[in-house]
Symmetry: C2
Subunit: 269 residues, 2 copies
């Protein structure tokens, strides 16, 4: 782990990242020391920094540090955290920002081939995501909604939970974006009001014709396919949402093939 470029595993206790969740993060999948979606991660980070009035970090520096923390792991995940650093007590921005960065490497979670062929089971979470356009889309450090959502179940057979907004529109799962085939067309929820605009989602959107729109939770009952996209886990078919069963179909398989072509081992993400 590197903190501001130096080996270390601590941050100042008065860092605004801890005090207010004042910062952003990226979780980036590496295979053999290479991150196929790296440019998309850097693009999101750059745009989100601008929205939070944070100086954008140097992408080349981040890449050098990410490669360093990956070590010899073939299958790795790098978490980059950018915070606004130290400041006076209080919400006002520091006169001059000195962002802090933490670059940490992890062994990638091992998923079985079964999960990629047959898919995962989901539940529908009770908590609703609040609608906040000023924060929507960003992978910022204010993630208590996701923490509370994930705390709703312990059943190991349930891989993830669907999240709806206050108005009952489906937004995403707790840790991935959602795609559905409805009436023969690929659709994904609009993320103008809440949710994280995933880098894997951006890759799907750049590859396929996808309609981005509001999707009522009930509409998913009529979907012929459902899949999740995640920068860490890739393309995961959904085999069930509560009692509604789905069968992975051609849209899902096409995206999985695309992911393999990008260099991701879709049987061991």
């Amino acid at each position: 782990m590197l903190v501001n470029g130096h080996a270390g595993d601590v941050v100042p206790a008065l860092d605004r990242g801890l005090a207010y969740g004042d910062g952003l993060f990226e979780t980036i999948r590496f295979v053999d020391g290479v991150a196929p979606l790296w440019p998309r991660h850097m693009e999101r980070l750059r745009l989100s920094c601008a929205r939070l009035l944070l100086p954008a970090p140097d992408a080349e520096l981040l890449l050098a540090e990410a490669v360093q923390v990956v070590q010899e792991w073939v299958q790795a995940v790098v978490r980059i955290t950018i915070t606004r650093g130290l400041g006076e007590r209080g919400y006002a921005l520091p006169a001059v920002a000195h962002p802090h960065r933490v670059v940490a490497g992890f062994v990638a979670p091992a998923l079985t081939a079964d999960i990629y062929s047959q898919g995962v089971r989901l539940r529908v979470c009770d908590i609703r995501l609040a609608e906040q356009p000023r924060l929507a889309g960003m992978k910022h450090l204010n993630r208590l909604e996701q923490v509370l959502a994930r705390a709703e179940w312990n059943d190991l057979a349930v891989a993830d939970g669907l999240l709806c907004d206050t108005s009952g529109r489906v937004v995403s799962s707790t840790m991935a974006n959602l795609f559905a085939v409805i009436d023969g067309g690929l659709v994904t929820p609009s993320l103008e009001r809440c949710g994280v605009a995933g880098v894997a989602r951006a890759e799907v959107l750049a590859t396929q014709a996808v309609q981005v729109r509001d999707i009522a939770l009930d509409e998913l009952r009529h979907a012929s396919e459902l899949f999740l996209s995640s920068s860490v886990r890739g393309i995961l078919p959904v085999q069930a949402v509560a009692d509604t069963v789905y069968v992975p179909g051609p849209a899902t398989r096409a995206m999985q093939r695309h992911w393999r072509a990008l260099g991701f081992p879709m049987e061991q993400a």
Copy 2:
């Protein structure tokens, strides 16, 4: 500063408080080593810990640590931060929680007697608070809305900004709760959907007959008095919200007297 009871100024870079804003804080005013509102701070912390599924910290231990970091400062503020501590990567709660605590002392901000006699000027912030009943009322570590709100102005003559929710109801200022005298009665916004239920607000509610209800921003134009309550700053009259001017009246002065009776020096908070 004490971190888990030991002198120190750093926390683990993988603390969930930093990763997800997964935790809570209290900012507590001390005068001569005593915190008159201490029991209310501990009560809010206990209730909020239960809502976030965090083990409640030992209040006696926290008091001993708070008194220690106050040092010899007559006018001090202590920030207590409780996080969920370390966990595996991902939102799922650790199987066994080992919360971390940071107890940090600061010299209290020096406010002039003028501010308590004549009041402060406010603006109305552009950002709207998202409505999230599951997080409403708590002083949790997800405070990006307040950071963005406070970043909206630099004018030193404007002390704070009013925050409304998505529906146009007034909620609070960026760092204090709001009370108004409307049609001769004291009212304060309901905080069921968003906002922080301040400890100073709780003290006002316990002292005065106050109607807690939804308040449209427009209603404030008809208020005869407006004041802010803050555990750090006490009772601050509002002299203006944008172009609407107010004169501190009997309700405000009564609460300021109550604050002085509690032991707070209201001319140098």
